[in-house]
Symmetry: C2
């Protein structure tokens, strides 16, 4: 029973789709993309495989849909100071890297993206959405004349966010507030 455009969605369909996505998330967080199978999603959610395949024609489509709802951007700060805006945004990323579930899933997405163009496209869109608040803050500073026009926005984002990601996935060192503050100061000086 496919959804009819314009018609109110059947509440049972809404609920079973939500259950399927919830169990897909849970499997993602337990074992990365490699840990998601439609068999296991069906078993845990109690939704029949035929129903799952009616809404998501392939395992990849289901994984993409679940991943695309991870994280999500938050509003941009606007303190009038680029250093303060970037420190707030960088600290928010640092908090998520320490506490949220998605940082343990992201390496499996990046691994799959090396070989799967659909996953690579999804990763690119997610990443761009998550970095937008940084670009907004930098654009505002450019407009205020607080940052020289020749200072490249994308390079500045890499210099602020790169060291945080590096500590979470590569060096595994603590991402404490002193480190976050120092990263922003050095990138701006």
């Amino acid at each position: 029973m496919a959804d009819t455009p314009g018609a109110a969605p059947d509440q049972r369909v809404v609920r079973s789709k939500a259950r399927v996505l919830e169990e897909t998330y849970r499997l993602l967080f337990e074992g990365g993309i490699g840990g998601v199978s439609v068999d296991e999603v069906a078993r845990r959610s109690g939704v029949a495989k035929t129903t799952i395949y009616r809404h998501w024609p392939t395992r990849s489509a289901l994984v993409l849909d679940a991943c695309s709802k991870m994280g999500g951007p938050e509003p941009s700060p606007d303190t009038g100071s680029l250093r303060e805006d970037l420190t707030i945004l960088a600290q928010r990323v640092a908090d998520q890297l320490r506490d949220a579930a998605w940082p343990s899933v992201l390496p499996s997405i990046i691994d799959a993206a090396e070989r799967d163009p659909a996953i690579a496209g999804m990763h690119e869109r997610l990443h761009a959405a998550n970095m937008q608040p940084f670009l907004d803050a930098i654009a505002a500073a450019h407009r205020r004349g607080e940052l020289p026009a020749e200072r490249d926005a994308a390079a500045l984002v890499a210099e602020v966010v790169g060291p945080l990601f590096y500590r979470r996935w590569f060096s595994k060192e603590p991402i404490d507030p002193a480190f976050v503050t120092g990263v922003v100061i050095h990138a701006l000086d």
Copy 2:
């Protein structure tokens, strides 16, 4: 036929171990850690599974052995200028991120490390070895008095290497020489 300590290794054993590692590498580069199976290594190398298991008791042991030989540190530069040393080292990393095979395998190692302590330990050792030339260059600058004693070496490494890794695996933007030079200048200023 296990290797006897002190005895000259049997040349056939040396050759078949090398063939097994070579095919393991190849599978790693094609599909990440998830792409390596002992069955497929045996098929491609022509070495019997029983022989493979004699040298590497588990699939994980074989993967660890192959991964631990990836990359490998190169000699530290010693130009007498920290900015020059770091630029040489950062440019070397940038070249590898663009051209070498290991950057496409590393996400699968980092993904596996999220859940497998043996892989996490191997990743930690490999990472530490690869970052050592950066720490050596910074220690020399500290000794020369070129860098203030209070400037933390680990944070400086994160600020130089983090933005390069960020572009390779997250933003997928070019890691060109102008970007590399800018990253080093901002981290040091």
